[in-house]
């Protein structure tokens, strides 16, 4: 099974799309910002899908992991800015801190909330996100509600020009890499025993238990993995791109809702779904805001309802059924 290269074929369309986004953005003037936004939504979907798509649990507090990731990078940069020898290493440390903090938070939340099921889990996670935000503000942790601004530190470490390239170019490249890595991990899980266990528990948790599946273990694996990618995404798409962090901005539930829409739109539990969902969501949001500024949400809501009604398994879920038995089958997952 290990030597079978066809196992990885479904990654081809995913990686072609990410490469195309990079090439369009870097070669066509004025397109980079749009591609960066699309990459963010795709990465967000790809990361969230590992938990929402594979377990069927809806985490309304998901943005909290992006939030702590942002803080991880912010803390790394502000605390270590005076150590000159670090150079680019400071970014690595920031990413590592984001991973550690997202892991710790997901362990803490998972240990409590993953005992709950369905709507109870969803409600508990809303509480976690809001609670964590007010805890940071109230207890004045990490500067509390004043937030952290670290533009000066970045300029000091890298010089003005490099610092600017970091936030306008490299941060977005990093987002694309995160999206690609999350896609790889998704496929790896799908093809391994983890995916098998997650499918069983998503379809029927009681049945999974009596089959001897350690359901809690696999839920936590998916939860942590998904949280780690969210942390990395926060560290790059938020902290590096806009070098400041304020609690109300990074714990904004709006992003969780966007992530849910992207995953469901594209197809929960599929590999290609979050990419397709991210592109559709990002593009419609962008063009609707140009054509009908201020009305984009009003128009977007019914479109989403229609898609969910007509393609309950998402666009890729529908596509998967269509290509069954054709040569395209092994590329669509």
């Amino acid at each position: 099974m290990r030597a079978d290269p066809t196992k990885y074929y479904p990654l081809i369309p995913v990686y072609v799309a990410y490469l195309a986004m990079f090439l369009i953005g870097s070669n066509m003037t004025g397109m980079w910002q749009l591609m960066a936004m699309l990459a963010f939504y795709c990465a967000l979907g790809q990361a969230f899908n590992i938990f929402l798509g594979m377990t069927g649990y809806v985490d309304f507090g998901y943005v909290a992991f992006l939030g702590v990731g942002t803080y991880g990078m912010a803390l790394g940069i502000t605390k270590l800015a005076h150590v000159e020898e670090l150079g680019i290493g400071i970014i690595i440390i920031g990413l590592a801190l984001a991973v550690v903090m997202a892991t710790l938070l997901s362990l803490a939340v998972g240990a409590v909330a993953l005992r709950l099921r369905g709507a109870y889990f969803a409600i508990a996670t809303i509480g976690v996100n809001e609670g964590f935000r007010y805890f940071i503000e109230g207890a004045k942790i990490w500067n509390g509600s004043e937030g952290m601004i670290f533009t000066a530190e970045l300029n000091q470490i890298f010089g003005r020009e490099t610092a600017s390239a970091l936030s306008t170019f490299w941060a977005d490249v990093l987002v694309l890499i995160i999206a690609a890595a999350a896609a790889f991990v998704t496929l790896y899980y799908m093809k391994s025993k983890i995916g098998y266990a997650l499918t069983a528990l998503r379809e029927d948790e009681d049945a999974a238990k009596v089959m001897g599946i350690h359901v809690t273990k696999y839920k936590i694996i998916a939860f942590i993995t998904s949280a780690v990618f969210a942390g990395l995404l926060g560290a790059s798409a938020w902290a590096l791109k806009t070098p400041y962090v304020f609690p109300p901005e990074v714990f904004e539930i709006h992003y969780t809702v966007e992530a849910i829409i992207i995953v469901l739109l594209g197809g929960a539990g599929t590999l290609l779904g979050p990419l397709v969902g991210g592109l559709i969501y990002g593009l419609s949001k962008y063009y609707l805001s140009i054509v009908l500024p201020g009305f984009q949400l009003l128009i977007f809501a019914p479109i989403i309802i229609l898609i969910i009604v007509f393609f309950p398994e998402g666009i890729v879920g529908m596509l998967k059924n269509r290509v069954k038995g054709t040569a395209l089958e092994q590329y669509v997952l």
């Binding site: 098998y196 029927d204 009596v210 089959m211």
Partner: protein
């Protein structure tokens, strides 16, 4: 093979089991009877560990398994066919069975187990590519039992397998249960409300009431006792 001693458990602060004790002999069909809401399902769940035992002891093949988590107990060869149809309805019959062979030992024997369950349930073989959700009620119950067999159990606990089935199918399900004992030597703990049919199939019977065991005896003995029938079984 399985011994439950003075077990207590429940949900939250509500105690459901008040120290029932029972024993299941190897190669037998032991039946647990009683009306709705007396804790029969809770007892099965507590044995398997999906409801945590508060007090008491559960011994399996001479080993204390009281604190083990569910998946460890399945590893030891205990499984449960839960009440209602917990099937993966979007998957085919064949896929459902393969999912059943999750644990390592079961996976190694998957081929043999498949042969066995298809021999036991030819109708599943005929429909192996059909979605589980499209099967009839009786076939779905067969599939649930078949999937449990894929875990290669030694002890199988069935929670109301004849529930919501047409009378003709009830007979079929009980026939299947007797075949599990006779043909593959399984040990069976059966929870039922259908007293008449289970008294026929069982070797030994426990009657449960308000979280306690009220009476026990050989199946024929219980069936012959007028008091038992009137007081607890309503037949």
């Amino acid at each position: 093979m399985l011994k439950v001693e003075n077990i207590e458990s429940g949900y939250g602060s509500m105690q459901v089991l008040w120290q029932p004790s029972l024993e299941v002999k190897k190669g037998s069909i032991t039946s647990l009877l009683g009306p709705n809401g007396v804790g029969k399902s809770t007892l099965l769940r507590t044995i398997l560990g999906s409801v945590e035992p508060w007090h008491g002891r559960i011994t399996y093949e001479g080993r204390d398994i009281t604190p083990l988590p569910t998946h460890k107990k399945v590893d030891l060869g205990i499984t449960l066919v839960p009440e209602g149809k917990h099937l993966f309805v979007e998957m085919t019959v064949h896929e459902n069975l393969i999912m059943g062979a999750y644990r390592k030992e079961a996976f190694q024997h998957m081929h043999d187990s498949l042969k066995l369950v298809y021999a036991l349930f030819p109708v599943l073989k005929e429909r192996d590519k059909q979605k589980a959700g499209s099967l009839s009620g009786g076939e779905q119950q067969m599939l649930t039992i078949a999937r449990a067999l894929m875990t290669k159990p030694k002890l199988i606990m069935l929670d109301e397998p004849s529930q919501v089935l047409a009378p003709k199918l009830v007979g079929e399900v009980f026939e299947t249960i007797e075949r599990l004992k006779a043909e593959i030597g399984l040990t069976i703990l059966l929870v039922e409300q259908n007293a008449e049919a289970s008294l026929k199939a069982a070797d030994y019977v426990y009657i449960m009431h308000e979280g306690r065991i009220k009476a026990e005896g050989g199946a024929e003995e219980i069936a012959a006792s007028r008091d038992m029938r009137e007081a607890y079984l309503g037949i």
